[in-house]
Structures are given as structure tokens and as C-alpha cells.
Amino acid sequence: MISKNELLGGMRSRDVLAVFAFTLIACAMMQLNKPLGVPIYIISLLLIAIASSFLHKDNLRVAALLAIVLLSAFSIWSNGVKFGIDFSGGVRIPILLEQPVDSVTMEEMVSTIKTRAASFGLTEVKVRPIGDSEIYVELPQSSPQLIKDVEDILSQQGAYQGVVDGKVAITGSEIYSGSIYRVPAQYLQGADWGVSFTVTQAGANNFAQVALGKANYPLYMFLDRPQNAIIVINESELMAGAKKQLTPVSRAKALELVASAMALEGDNITVYVEEDIADNFTLVPKNNKTKAFVTSGSPIAPKLAAAGFDVYERSGEEMTPSYVVQPASPTSDAVTTWKAVGLLSAPRLVASVTEGIPNFGYTINGPAQGDSAIARANDALKKERDLQSLLKGGALPVQITIGSKTIVPAPLGEEFLRLSLIGIAFALAVVSLMVAIRYRNLKIVAPMMFISFAEILIMMAVIGSFTIDLAAMAGILAAIGVSVDAQIIVTDELLKKEEESKKRIDKAFTIITTSVMVAVVAMLPLLLLSGLVEIIGFATSTVLGSLLGLFISRPAYGAIAERIFE
């Protein structure tokens, strides 16, 4: 039996105190640094688990379990538990890539989809990569129109437009998409990267005409440039990019640059500064389809909507233009990016393409940034890929298939969640009852149930740090049985009083370790290799349940049970 003295002694031991002190510090850090809450939680959990596994001390094992339970409960409170759309309601559209891609390409695809979704006004869309060959697009609410919009974004290409001094010099339909390629290093002639492409006869003629005499002018390259629109930018957004320049850019200069970047014959996007128009609001839309781009949450947004504008709210980052200014050549001063209106790049025209002679092949090149050679090479690669994607109208670098859509109405999802949680509680109760009938000993049943409950809590916190979907929930429920199973092995082994208890515990652990290994190995290919994201949640919770048991709760139960049977 555990005596009071032993308990107090155990609590006073230095390791135990250290574990609890560590837990408290981890909790405080989670609370103080909310954005990093999840990593802090996971790392702390791992550290405690490792410490308790390597230091073979019974009181430490029990303390580690308690500490992890505390930590997990705190994480649920502080970081929250994320539920998939099965439980929170919404739409999920999986996108399957024809072939696996590396992380750079994946990042690029996710950002392309986000950019394009934003240009459709879909700002609440969540886009997240799943493994190396799938992307989830999730919408918090479901309407057929929204779903259709997302599908449009994914299946259709955007419109590329190149503008020189307020005139369209080139469009995506004039570029042979198959001719867009990265310039090999030996032909770069000093630049760090280059993308080359061929245009049609009509494109060549038009470009020659528009670019005539515009040497050093920027070629403003847009993806899905909004038509019939205005943009309302605030003072700090206007000047944020200006402050990053070596040569200071005055407010007047910044205004001049954004105005010229937004100029297009017959379809200027007029730029307003929020602070200038706030007090004396007199803007009137040209017609009922005029769009107004504005920082999300800006007080001016409702006024614009009231005035009859079609308001598109954009994040501060998207609303912030960046500039390039060179005192030596003022004509090449330009706004280089302004995502809110689809301005993604602004290369400078070299003199040779501005002489009025139709030219079929073009190359855009430039320098790369970075501290090391590798960083510069990566930057060059990224710039080339971004540019290729832009010229192809935001086309994704690999072919995609739209997977099976799942739509869950929010009230139904909440009801599913409620019932599932009741189901877990019910399963815990039923399994406890069975164990109680089998062993008829509260001293055995109580710790068993506490440990099963602890495991469910830990799994909720860990998987909930990412996403709990239906499959993961089923796995968590199954973990109750798995958790009790291993404890049954320990208990039955200890009930045989033939040898000393340490040896019997060892025997039980040999069996448990073996079965955990086999169970994990059977699930591992599904978890790591299959890419079947629809059921990866299940594999994750099954494997996690087994591992948690092996490293944390079984040792703790062993330590408790050994004393109970003495």
C-alpha cells in the first residue's frame, strides 16, 4: 500500500519537484506567448516524457503522468482544441496534386491559391498543406456560391496583364504558356535568375507599340487586376514600404508612385488615403459594381458600403505597397508589389525592347537576395517560380484534381461533437464497470480509470492542437479500450503471486512493449506513407494512444499497482 509518509516523501523528492516546477514554467510560457502555445506544449510534453522514461524512478513516473495531465489540461484551456469541419461546420475541398512536390513548391501552391482566393473576395478561406501531395481548402460556412467560387479559382486560370505607363502592353493570352521557362544559369549574363517566354505576333506588335520610347519604365505585372475599382489605403500602409528604402521616399513621391502604378487607360484605380477622406467623406461609386479595396476592420469600410461601393476588405500586408527607388534613374522608380490589387512584380524595361521593333522572345531577370549562397540560390528559384506562375495566369506548378467535398451544417456539427464527447464519457463508464466487475477491487479500478481518463485528456490536447476530425475522434474513443487493455495485462501479471513484483511487472512490460510495437508498425505505413489524409487522423490517434501508453501511463500504472499489491 502507499502510505502517507511515502506519498509525502515522494512529493518532496527533488526530481518530482523539478518536474512540477518545469510544468508550471511551461504553462506560464504558453499563457504569455499565445502564438507559440502549441509548440511550447508539445516540446514540454516530450521533455517530461523523455525524462521519466530514462530515469527509472517510480515516483517520477507517477509525477510525470500528473504533470503531463496538468500541462494538457492547461493547454486545452490556453491553446484551445481545434475541431475539423465535421464538428465545427463548413466546407472542406481537398485538392490532390498529380505528383508529390517539395516543400518550396507546396508553399508556393498554397500561397497561389490564397492569393487567387483573396482576389475573389474569399478572405475566410483556410488553405493548408497536408503531406506532400494534398492541400485542404476549408470554408467556415457553406453556400453553393462560395463552393463554386473556390472551384472556379482552382479550375480556371487568372488573367495576367502587363501595363506600361498606363497602357496594356501584354496579356496572358498573348504569351505561349508552353514557352515560359527558366533561363539556364549559363545564359543569365550576370543576373541571378531569369524567366524567358515567347509572345504571339499580335502580342509582339502591341508590345512594340506601347513600349516605344519607354526605356527604364516599369512593366507593372498584374494577376487578376480588378476592374472598375478604387482603393483606400491608410497613412501607415502608404509609408511602410517607403521607410524601407535607402533613399527616403517622401509622402508626395509615394502617392505619385502608387497613382502611376494604378493608372490604366480608361480604367484607373484611384488611390485614396483614409486619413484624407475620413472627415469629409464624399466618395461616390461610378456605378453599383464599383469595387472598393480597403484594410479589413477599417472604420471607412462601412461608409464605403453605405455609399454603394462593393467593399473588399484586405489584410494590412496585402494593402501595403512596396517601392523601388533609384535616385540615378527616376523613370524606373516604381511600386514593385501591391497584392490587394494583384500587382505582383514590376521589372524595368531595357532600352532594346523600347525601340518599336516587334520582338517575340523576352527575358525577365534580376538579382537575388540572401546572406549566403544557398539563401540566394533559393531566393532566385523562388523568384523564377513566382514569375512563371504569374505569367501563366496564376497557374499551379503541377496538375491538380479536386477531391471529394465535405459539407457539414454548423448546428449538426456541434450536435455531433456533443454526442461524441458523451460517447467517450459513456465508454469510460462502461469499461470501468466491466473492470470493476472483473476485479472487484476499487484500489485497482480507480487508478486504471484515472489513467484512461488522463490518456483521453492528453490525446484531446495533443490532437486538438492540430485538428480533431471524425476519424481522430473514433481513434480517441478506441484508445480507451487500448489503454485499459495494457493495464489489464499488468494487473493480471501482478495478481499472480509467484515471484517478486518487480519481475512480474517486467514480464508484463515485455508483453506490452511487444504489442505496442506491432500495433504501431501495422499503422505506420498508413500514417507516414499513404497520404490518405481522410483517415490519417485515425492512424495518428491510434499510434499516439499506443505510444502515450507505453512511455507515460503504463509505467505510472505499474508504479502505482506494484504498491497496491504489496
Binding site: T198, A478, A539
Partner: protein, 389 residues
């Protein structure tokens, strides 16, 4: 002890093997020979559309089937079930052949178009060689044919040859494909709304290429799992007969679970597939317990040790089964297919496991030990000693 089961290994225990063998044979008959009970593939593996609608009232599924059939859809199943927020109407329709064909053509078009566009660029520059021009013409003729295939399905004039340039053709093909899918969706919505007034509808659409991908990945996952599990089991037990017995037990269990899937009409979906993999783990759990206790221990005789293992094993199976029964009850309240498929497969497999472990694996193992094959070796396996205290 609350319940005492007689020791089945006293007496002529060899006869016990008949029960699991019969179960396995029945299961094999169910899966392979009887066409009515063959395992149904769910939409994940078969392709098709699973429509789940949430409605306030129940729906006459026959009328729904008739309405869909009239609009040209092949209905594989239609169900109307009560759930916490009213009724869930679930209809499964087969993949439309035109859609499948259009999808294939579109994939093939986009696989070729970049290359053709590059040839077009080469052919369009001033002073292009005649080789470049004829190469482009040949390539363009190829994708024109593919495009015309899509136009035909979309009921559009098959005039790809007169479309100038790949960029324009690409736009037309995209529009035509979109037209095909839109028409299909509109026709489907039309057929549904005539019969059901639904609050929300979820279309789980699995194209044939997607279902093929699922099937391929599932197959490779099974292969990897099997190989890994075999390696681990042999590493742990190091001798042939016990390892083989453990694997035969697990194999029999999976076959029995598959038989139950055929018998009770549980479809093979990604969820039930995951449950089958989990079952391998559960099944090996009791097999490992049995083998460890019988082979690597010395107390009493082998039959006694097998019997003791059985008592522990049955308690374990009971605990697992109870958790999955809870999940099954949850599934019947909510009609969440994922829950239903996982719990049903797990329950069937756990029942099968009782027979496969204690009547099949145990018998093979006891025969092996009593013939003097192997007993009383050191307690620890190679790898497991790393973890034990």
C-alpha cells in the same frame, strides 16, 4: 474471479481448431464465391457520388430513386435515416460515364498542351523553319482530337481545328469541361429538389482517377504493413512456428472481419480500411500475449499457461469490444459513416480474434510446444528489452 471459464485446452484441444477454420472457410465463401455477399466497395474505392442531405422530414427513397433514374443517374443506394437534427438522406450514385470520359480527356489535354504551346511558339516566330511549322501542325492535330472529344460530350460543335492557337483552345476546353460538370450538377440538383426539401447537401464526389489513387495507396499501405509486421514478429520470436502461428492468427482474424463485412454489408471505405489495419494490431495484441506466456515462461504446464493467458486476453478483448460498442451506438444515433464503419469492423474483428487466437493460434502453439519444440527461453525479446524497466 467473477466468471470462470473451463480450461478448453484440457482434453483433446486439437478439435478446437475446427471452429476458426470453419469461420475462415465461411468468410472466404462469403467474400469470394457468393455474389450477393461480396464486399461492397464504398465510393472511396469505387468512384461515384455520395450525396448526404439534411432534411426536416423523411423521404420516399423509391420516389427519389425513380426521379434520379429518370434524369439519367444510376442509383446504387438510397437511404433515409433519422439523426439528431431531423433526417439524413443518403444517396449513392454511380460515376457518370460521360464525366469520367471528359475527365480523362481533360487530363490528357493538359498533359499535352504545354508542349504543343512550346512548339507553337517555335513555329510562330518570324523565319520559323518548315520543320517547326509541321511539328506544330502535327501536335496541334493531336490535341484538336482530344478537344473535339470533350466538345462532343459537351454538345458543342467539334471545331477545335479552327480554333487558332493553344491559348484560345485551352480556354475553350476549360469552358467545355466546366459546362459538362455544371450541367451534371444542375441535372442532379434538379432531380433531388423535385423530391427532397433539404437544408443542406454534401456531395462526396470521388472521380475515377481519385478512387484509383485511393485503391493504389491502400494496396501499397497493406503491403508495407504486412511486410513490416512480419519482420517485427519474426524479430521478436526468432523461431518459425510461433511467429507463423501469430501471423496465421492475425490473418485469420482479418479474413473473418472481411467475411463479416460481406455478410452485414459494411462497405470497404477508407474508414473501414483503416479499421482493418488497426485490427491487425489488436489481433496481434492477444497473439503476442499468448505466445509470450506459453513459450517464454516456465510456471505450470503449457496448457495451464495458455489458459491463464486466455483469461487475461478475454478480459482485454471485452474492454476493447465495449469501447467499440459505444462507438457503434454513437454511429447508430448520428449515422456518421466513419464511426459506423470503424466500429462495425472492429467489433466483427474482435469476435473473430477470440476464435483465431484462442482456438487457432493457441492450438498450433501448444502442439508445437508439446512436441518438444520450444519452451522456457529467456524472458526478453531483442528489441523489447530496450523499454522494460
Amino acid at each position: 474471479m467473477a466468471f470462470e471459464i473451463p480450461n478448453p485446452y484440457r482434453g483433446n484441444y486439437k478439435l478446437l481448431i475446427i471452429i476458426p477454420l470453419l469461420l475462415v472457410l465461411c468468410s472466404l465463401f462469403i467474400i469470394f464465391l457468393n455474389p450477393q455477399t461480396q464486399i461492397k466497395k464504398g465510393v472511396d474505392f469505387k468512384g461515384g457520388t455520395l450525396i448526404t442531405m439534411q432534411a426536416n422530414q423523411s423521404v420516399d427513397t423509391q420516389a427519389l430513386t425513380a426521379a434520379l433514374t429518370k434524369k439519367g443517374f444510376a442509383v446504387s443506394s438510397a437511404k433515409s435515416l433519422q439523426n439528431p437534427k431531423g433526417y439524413e438522406i443518403e444517396v449513392e450514385i454511380e460515376r457518370d460515364e460521360n464525366l469520367t470520359r471528359a475527365e480523362e480527356l481533360k487530363t490528357s489535354f493538359f498533359a499535352q498542351v504545354d508542349e504543343v504551346s512550346r512548339l507553337e511558339a517555335d513555329a510562330s516566330v518570324p523565319n520559323a523553319s518548315s520543320d517547326a511549322i509541321s511539328a506544330y501542325a502535327a501536335a496541334k492535330a493531336g490535341i484538336d482530337e482530344t478537344s473535339n472529344g470533350i466538345f462532343a460530350i459537351a454538345n458543342l460543335p467539334q471545331n477545335a481545328g479552327s480554333v487558332n492557337g493553344t491559348n484560345a483552345l485551352k480556354a475553350k476546353v476549360n469552358a467545355a469541361y466546366r459546362g459538362i460538370t455544371d450541367e451534371n450538377a444542375a441535372r442532379l440538383a434538379d432531380a433531388l429538389s423535385g423530391v427532397v426539401t433539404y437544408e443542406s447537401a454534401s456531395f462526396n464526389e470521388v472521380s475515377s482517377s481519385l478512387s484509383e489513387k485511393f485503391l493504389e495507396k491502400a494496396t501499397s499501405t497493406v503491403l508495407y504493413s504486412t511486410v513490416l509486421v512480419c519482420i517485427v514478429v519474426f524479430l521478436i520470436f526468432k523461431t518459425f512456428v510461433p511467429s507463423a502461428a501469430v501471423l496465421i492468427g492475425a490473418g485469420a482474424d482479418v479474413i473473418i472481419a472481411l467475411g463479416a463485412m460481406g455478410l452485414f454489408g459494411i462497405p470497404l471505405t477508407l474508414a473501414s480500411f483503416a479499421a482493418l489495419l488497426m485490427l491487425v494490431g489488436f489481433s496481434l495484441d492477444t497473439d503476442v500475449l499468448l505466445t509470450m506466456r506459453v513459450i517464454k515462461r516456465k510456471e505450470g504446464d503449457a496448457r495451464g499457461r495458455a489458459y491463464e493467458a486466455m483469461k487475461t486476453g478475454l478480459t482485454m478483448s471485452m474492454a476493447l469490444m465495449l469501447s467499440f460498442i459505444c462507438l457503434f451506438i454513437l454511429a447508430s444515433l448520428t449515422h456518421i459513416n466513419t464511426y459506423y464503419e470503424i466500429s462495425a469492423v472492429a467489433i466483427a474483428g474482435l469476435v473473430g480474434d477470440v476464435f483465431a487466437t484462442w482456438f487457432l493460434n493457441a492450438v498450433i502453439l501448444l502442439r508445437h510446444v508439446e512436441k518438444g519444440g520450444h519452451t522456457g527461453e529467456s524472458e526478453k525479446g531483442v528489441v523489447s528489452s530496450l523499454f522494460s524497466s
